[in-house]
C-alpha cells in the first residue's frame, strides 16, 4: 500500500532537486529512494541518508500517510 508522504531536501540534495520539498507516493523507504533518484539523476552522485520523522533510517522502513522523509547529504556542521 503506497502512502502519500512529504519529502524534504537539504544541502546538495536541495540543489539537485531544485526545490525544498514535495509530495511522493511510496510504500517504503527503498521504493521512495528509487523514485527520487529516477526523477533527479544528479541525486545518484550524492551519498544521502534518509530520516523518517526525524530519525535516521537504518533499514528499509514502511511508510504511512503524512510521514515526513528528509533527504540528508553528509552533515557539514561544526
Amino acid at each position: 500500500m503506497a502512502a502519500e508522504v512529504k519529502v524534504l531536501y537539504f544541502g546538495a540534495a536541495q540543489e539537485a532537486a531544485g526545490r525544498a520539498e514535495e509530495e511522493f507516493r511510496a510504500g517504503d523507504t527503498a521504493s521512495l529512494r528509487s523514485q527520487i533518484v529516477s526523477k533527479y539523476p544528479a541525486m545518484a552522485r550524492i551519498p544521502f541518508r534518509m530520516a523518517l520523522n526525524k530519525t535516521i533510517v537504518k533499514e528499509d522502513s514502511g511508510l504511512k500517510e503524512n510521514d515526513i522523509i528528509a533527504i540528508l547529504p553528509p552533515f557539514q556542521g561544526g
Partner: protein, 133 residues
C-alpha cells in the same frame, strides 16, 4: 528559530560573553571548557572563502542536540551543564559558527566531554554548508 540550538548569523563576541555568563552561577563548577568553531578563509583552487552559508533541518537539530546533551551528561558524571549553539545563515570568515560550553566540577570530565560533544555535533547534527567566495 525552531531550535534552541541554532542562532541566525554569526555567534558574535557579545553573544559569546552572554553565553559564558550562564555558567557563572554555580560555585561547584570548578572547570569551564569552551570550544568555538570559526569560518576559515580557506583557499579552494585559488578562490578564497569569504563566508559560509549554513542550512539546517531545524526540527531534527533540536532532537539530535537534546540527545547529545543527554548522552554527554550520562557519560561524564562530573559534568554540570552542556551548552551547544550553532549558526544558521551567513557567517563571514573569522566569525564564529559554533559554540560549545561544558561546566564540570573538575577538569578531567569537562575537557573530555567538550571534545566528545564537538565530535557528536559534527557527526549528528543535520547542518550543511555552502562556501561563498
Amino acid at each position: 528559530m525552531k531550535s534552541r540550538y541554532l542562532t541566525g548569523g554569526p555567534i558574535t563576541p557579545v553573544l559569546i560573553s552572554e553565553l559564558m555568563t550562564l555558567g557563572n552561577n554555580d560555585p561547584g563548577a570548578g572547570a569551564v571548557s569552551v570550544f568555538i568553531g570559526r569560518v576559515r578563509d580557506d583557499d579552494y583552487d585559488g578562490r578564497r572563502v569569504t563566508a559560509i552559508e549554513y542550512s539546517a533541518y531545524e526540527d531534527m537539530v533540536e532532537k539530535e542536540a537534546e540527545e547529545i546533551v543527554r548522552t554527554v551528561r550520562a557519560a561524564f558524571s562530573d559534568v554540570r551543564s552542556v551548552l551547544i549553539v550553532h549558526s544558521k545563515g551567513i557567517v563571514k570568515a573569522g566569525e564564529a559558527s559554533l559554540f560549545i560550553m561544558i561546566t564540570s566540577g573538575h577538569r578531567d570530565h569537562g575537557t573530555r566531554a567538550c571534545r566528545h560533544t564537538l565530535e557528536m555535533v559534527k557527526e549528528k547534527l543535520p547542518i550543511w554548508k555552502k562556501e561563498l567566495f
